[in-house]
């Protein structure tokens, strides 16, 4: 007896290293077709780095002049002062600094290490890769592009790999989304015993990000995963799930 899975994750194989000259929707559609995947009724989860490269969110480190603050952090943490300068430029605020880790709040409101500015897997030793300027809009544009190429009833989730307080290890989270409600809200529904569920709100886009992350680990060369079996419904984007700083206990 063959059992049909409820949720399936398909790695989209064969995606080449992306440059600003590439039409990402076209590249992904072609690679999906090549492995027999139809981009209908599912969610495309894409790693941030691919989006950032397509959008030319790259900074040549040789053109960066580190500030005194960047030099100070770099000295303390044994990091590249130019890298730290780019991190500071991408940050609204430093949230924590210690143990050679710099946690900042990005302009989008994300709280993460190094403002998401990454040197690994960058297209050249001297290049820093920044987060997309507006990842929700990036997701929206990619979704539209995929739909123009035949995709139907699909959502797009853009992910990055974040650390967490209190736990070692990294897990992918959503930084942009389009075509799916970021949070599945159960408030007002009842539990199995008939009691009202007060605060059960599942962060669907982050669940999708973490799940797809299992196929997107850095040595895999797989920057996009197709997920089926999760309802593609609702509206909103990742910006909607950033907690209001005034209600945040960990700023």
């Amino acid at each position: 007896m063959k059992v049909t899975p409820s949720i399936s994750l398909f790695p989209i194989l064969g995606i080449p290293l992306i440059t600003p000259q590439d039409d990402l929707a076209l590249v992904i559609t072609k690679c999906a077709q090549k492995i027999g995947l139809e981009l209908k009724d599912g969610i495309l989860v894409v790693a941030q780095k691919v989006i950032s490269k397509a959008e030319d969110r790259l900074v040549s480190m040789s053109k960066v002049t580190p500030s005194e603050k960047a030099r100070e952090i770099a000295r303390e943490d044994e990091k590249d002062p130019r890298h730290m300068e780019v991190v500071l430029q991408e940050s609204e605020a430093i949230v924590r600094h210690g143990n050679r880790v710099l946690i900042t709040e990005t302009r989008h409101g994300f709280v993460c290490a190094n403002a998401g500015v990454d040197l690994s897997n960058a297209p050249g030793e001297d290049i820093a890769v920044l987060l997309p300027l507006n990842p929700d809009e990036s997701a929206n544009q990619l979704r539209k592009g995929l739909e123009e190429l035949g995709g139907q009833r699909l959502a797009v989730v853009i992910t990055d790999t974040f650390g967490r307080p209190w736990r070692e290890g990294l897990v992918d989270v959503a930084i942009g989304s389009s075509g799916i409600a970021p949070i599945d809200d159960f408030r007002g529904q009842t539990d199995l015993a008939g009691r009202e569920l007060v605060v059960t709100t599942a962060a669907t886009v982050d669940q999708l990000a973490a799940a797809a992350g299992m196929l997107m680990q850095k040595d895999s060369g797989i920057p996009a995963v197709w997920v089926t079996g999760v309802p593609v419904t609702g509206e909103g984007c990742v910006a909607d799930l950033i907690r209001n700083p005034s209600e945040d206990l960990f700023r």
Copy 2:
């Protein structure tokens, strides 16, 4: 053309409400068989509440006498003082308290709301469900039980639904595991450009928890999910991924 997914998630349907009299491994094995699932070469992800009920980690609220501290928190947060008393008893320390949210550190070292003590879906209005005493050992026992009933090369991950700083919405995380490395460590490997990956360590058990959480949401009545396509390798347990408090920037 039918494409084979890399990772598949199968909800284990038909699991009844669990009591301390139930043999959980037997119940799960039978329900899996009924839907044609063989528990071989995969990971069983189980919701904490099922484990807690099987282990009788239940407290009758009518027998709880709230301390002055519990009354104070309950007054401020408009909560049940007996519930708050159980939370305090299950906590090593209060990490944050504000906005009607009580974040504590449990005896296991987890940092979460209300020490994981839950009233919803409990088997009776007056019952609080506590976290398992040793969720890693619970996972280990369940894995052994499943193997005795014919399961092969399987891992077990026990999950609970936690909130996160900075982001609205809940995501399941692992609180216990057995038979799989909790963290997939890429340190020392190289990225696609040949640079050494310094800190890329994926928290595999938390990725599995979040993925399975998509099928375990509170109104679904599905407390167990079978995941295939993720390598069942390595050793260790969830206790290994609790960050050392002295290295934690968010205590």
